[in-house]
Symmetry: C2
């Protein structure tokens, strides 16, 4: 594992749990959430998220959390609803691990417009808490997703 | 497989071959290239690229090719060197399959600046030809990567 990402090691593995989604423009929903974080010896982690509703695959996204310098985190992600996310973040290791990112978003022509995505990953032992706020379709930054996951591998 | 992406089926699978990289600001290089395209019943393909030089993992990236409407292709990708790519494309099925995309690129703060990425995938039976042009670090759109791959699964 690359030294630059060693402090993110508590994120590595596969996490699964329950999430709740909400947004001013949609009906709230519950979902099954899975996050997988992996590394390949380079100064970044790769992540894949997959969700299910009623046993059916629902959402997925992929990306990287980069550690270009000590204390610096950056995120890039691709979302198949037509978003490309690019931002910066912080890491706090004082009590478990908290990774927080704040990103601007590019949108393909046919996509619903997402302007900003703010993510927060909190690892406490084998529990991962995930929160995502989003500014989209004319709404200001608003809580969209909240999930609590357990390490499954 | 979703009807919207059925015409991209010839891309599905894992491809491996040899590539050559060049750019005005770097030494040219040869590499081993692998592309994997998969689908999950939704109107997009997911791709993962992995490269090696001298047996060592070198580059990787992930993304999606979306088909939001007949004849329309869009691309979103995350590149762990700090780029998030978002663009449109075309599909030509008149002679094999040609998928061409042209994207603008967002860059994280610490990343080398990439402004535009133009990709071309040509499938002819079990051969995939890949070309990538890039406008980056002040250079105009210039050929960066060219690879010829064979289907391995």
């Amino acid at each position: 594992m690359h030294d630059a990402v060693a402090h993110l090691a508590p994120l590595l593995g596969t996490w699964r749990g329950e999430g709740h989604g909400t947004y001013p423009t949609i009906e709230s929903f519950d979902y099954v959430d899975e996050w997988e974080f992996s590394e390949n010896g380079k100064p970044f982690l790769r992540f894949v998220e997959r969700t299910w509703i009623g046993g059916e695959p629902r959402h997925t996204e992929v990306g990287y959390i980069r550690c270009p310098a000590p204390g610096v985190v950056e995120i890039v992600a691709a979302i198949p609803t037509g978003q490309a996310e690019c931002g910066t973040g912080s890491v706090d290791v004082s009590d478990g691990l908290v990774v927080a990112t704040d990103a601007t978003v590019g949108n393909t022509e046919s996509a619903k417009q997402v302007d900003r995505i703010v993510r927060r990953f909190e690892v406490d032992g084998d529990t991962l808490t995930y929160g995502m706020e989003m500014a989209a379709v004319g709404e200001p930054l608003t809580l969209h997703l909240k999930a609590t996951l357990q390490r499954v591998s």
